[in-house]
């Protein structure tokens, strides 16, 4: 690997995305260096998931550039894009497990479908990955609907790391889990990432989780990154927005639109 250390693994410049009249990303800049673990924090509906999906090519941005290992991906052909996407693993906010497939088939999906591995061999690997997230081989035979929320998250994690990707995205990996299970997932993420030596970009509004998995934290607000710095500095940013967010105060510069509560939960694209 002759990747120049100066070239960011992911480099986002001036990224813009609006849905109708609603501007979600408004000229966002972000760098993630190789081997780095960056966590993005920010309120619900501020466009964190949209940012990840733009980088993954699931949502087409309106403007801006995205470079992966120095390669501009926003104007790539679908075929080239597919090649670059093989570097990625993604843990979706809701797990997004294929509910018609058994757990082991979910975990080995990338190996079988994308890399053309034999099913027997892929099953072995799937069972090893399940063990790595603390699940026994018998779980492999179940359907996703038969699992608890915490187990689904673990299976989704196993699927995200199964192809040993260079870059892994975690979208709210601990949301909806109890504090103990959250900590288990955080530990698993830290372990897996260390083992793979992967670059990661995560989203969370769980500060405990952010402190545990991040090297660097970036805060998104109004479609831009308004603060970014090493995790150790998060308590002394002197930034009123960050302070308000990490202390969870209703009063401060961040104005929550109460009308937004009636919005449908952000999900996939239309």
């Amino acid at each position: 690997m002759s990747t120049n250390l100066q070239t960011p693994k992911i480099k986002v410049r001036g990224l813009k995305k609006a849905f109708g009249r609603k501007v979600v990303l408004d000229g966002l800049d972000l760098d993630v260096m190789s081997g780095e673990s960056v966590v993005i924090i920010g309120g619900s509906g501020t466009g964190k998931s949209v940012l990840l999906k733009c980088i993954l090519g699931i949502i087409q941005p309106d403007a801006g550039s995205i470079e992966i290992d120095g390669e501009e991906v926003t104007r790539m052909s679908s075929r080239e894009r597919e090649r670059v996407m093989r570097k990625f693993g993604m843990l979706f906010q809701g797990g997004a497990l294929f509910d018609s497939l058994r757990v082991w088939e979910n975990v080995s999906f990338g190996l079988v479908q994308a890399q053309g591995m034999e099913r027997v061999q892929a099953k072995d690997i799937a069972i090893r990955k399940l063990a790595a997230v603390g699940l026994g081989p018998e779980v492999g035979e179940l359907l996703p609907a038969e699992l608890s929320g915490g187990m689904q998250k673990r299976v989704a994690l196993a699927r995200a790391i199964a192809t040993e990707p260079e870059i892994i995205f975690f979208d709210e990996p601990t949301t909806g889990l109890d504090p103990i299970m959250s900590d288990v997932i955080n530990d698993l993420i830290v372990d897996c990432v260390k083992q793979l030596g992967a670059t990661t970009l995560s989203i969370t509004h769980d500060l405990a989780s952010a402190r545990k998995i991040a090297h660097r934290i970036a805060m998104i607000y109004n479609g831009k990154i308004i603060w970014s710095g090493p995790v150790q500095k998060i308590d002394y940013t002197g930034n009123a927005y960050v302070d308000q967010f990490i202390h969870g105060r209703a009063e401060g510069p961040i104005k929550v639109e109460v009308g937004a509560i009636n919005d449908p939960t952000p999900g996939s694209r239309r």
């Binding site: 990625f88 993604m90 479908q113 053309g116």
Partner: protein, 257 residues
């Protein structure tokens, strides 16, 4: 003036929809040229469409054949043409009623379930997950369903034809007093290859329409449970309308003058 504008808007949204669906089909074809081809998935869809639709299609066919025999007998008795019953039954079934009724039944069954399944995958981000696992959703979800629909509908319709004719035979022989051998003889005497063949062509086209509408509406499902519900309704209703329209056009193609 307002009226003209309304018509214009309607036309524009109609052509917009046609364009989007054509684009969707084109993308599905384009992405399916390169391997992998997923034979397992195609087989599973074929079983779903062909095998599991058999009971409902068979039931429809047998009652249609029976009622056709009864109706044409009592109708033709008015000008003493009762002997034409067998011919009327077989021609109506193979040309029209077999393919159309089977397609309407399958549209309700398969079109709805495809739209609901793919729509759910859309709203729960499973389709996005496919992409991140280097799998093209057109290739993985859409193409197997289209192929299975095109391949299995003609088989289903052929079975429906046979069952429908058999239904007419039961009534003809047991209730209307036809001689079994004579009934069978007049069933096949005037039957032409074109009658059956045009019905099978219709079936293939209907299979394509049903699966395309199921996939298209599911794929573009709006967010939430309500989005999936709407997608399902749209898939079935648009398939039903298109089936009736295309039925006329194919009939025109085969049988006008």
């Amino acid at each position: 003036m307002n009226f003209v504008a309304a018509i214009g808007r309607l036309l524009i949204s109609f052509f917009e929809a046609v364009g989007r669906i054509a684009m969707f089909t084109g993308l599905a074809l384009f992405h399916s040229l390169r391997p992998p081809y997923y034979p397992r998935l195609i087989a599973r869809q074929m079983i779903d469409i062909g095998y599991y639709s058999l009971p409902v299609v068979g039931l429809t066919a047998i009652f249609t054949g029976m009622v056709l025999a009864l109706q044409s007998y009592s109708g033709f008795a008015r000008f003493s043409a009762e002997s034409a019953v067998a011919t009327v039954v077989v021609i109506s079934i193979t040309r029209e009623l077999g393919p159309v009724l089977a397609a309407l039944m399958v549209a309700g069954r398969i079109g709805a379930s495809m739209a609901a399944e793919i729509g759910t995958m859309r709203v729960t981000e499973q389709i996005d997950a496919l992409t991140t696992l280097s799998t093209n959703p057109y290739k993985y979800l859409v193409m197997p369903r289209l192929l299975a629909g095109i391949a299995m509908m003609p088989v289903l319709v052929l079975v429906a034809d046979i069952i429908g004719v058999f239904g007419g035979y039961i009534i003809g022989v047991n209730k209307l007093g036809f001689n079994p051998a004579a009934y069978l003889k007049s069933t096949f005497e005037y039957l032409e290859f074109k009658d059956v063949f045009s019905g099978l062509v219709k079936a293939a086209v209907f299979g394509f329409i049903i699966t395309l509408m199921g996939c298209y509406h599911g794929y573009h499902s709006q967010r939430g449970a309500q989005g999936v519900g709407t997608a399902t309704i749209n898939a079935v209703v648009s398939a039903l309308i298109l089936i009736l329209v295309f039925n006329y056009m194919i009939t025109e193609l085969f049988f006008s003058r």
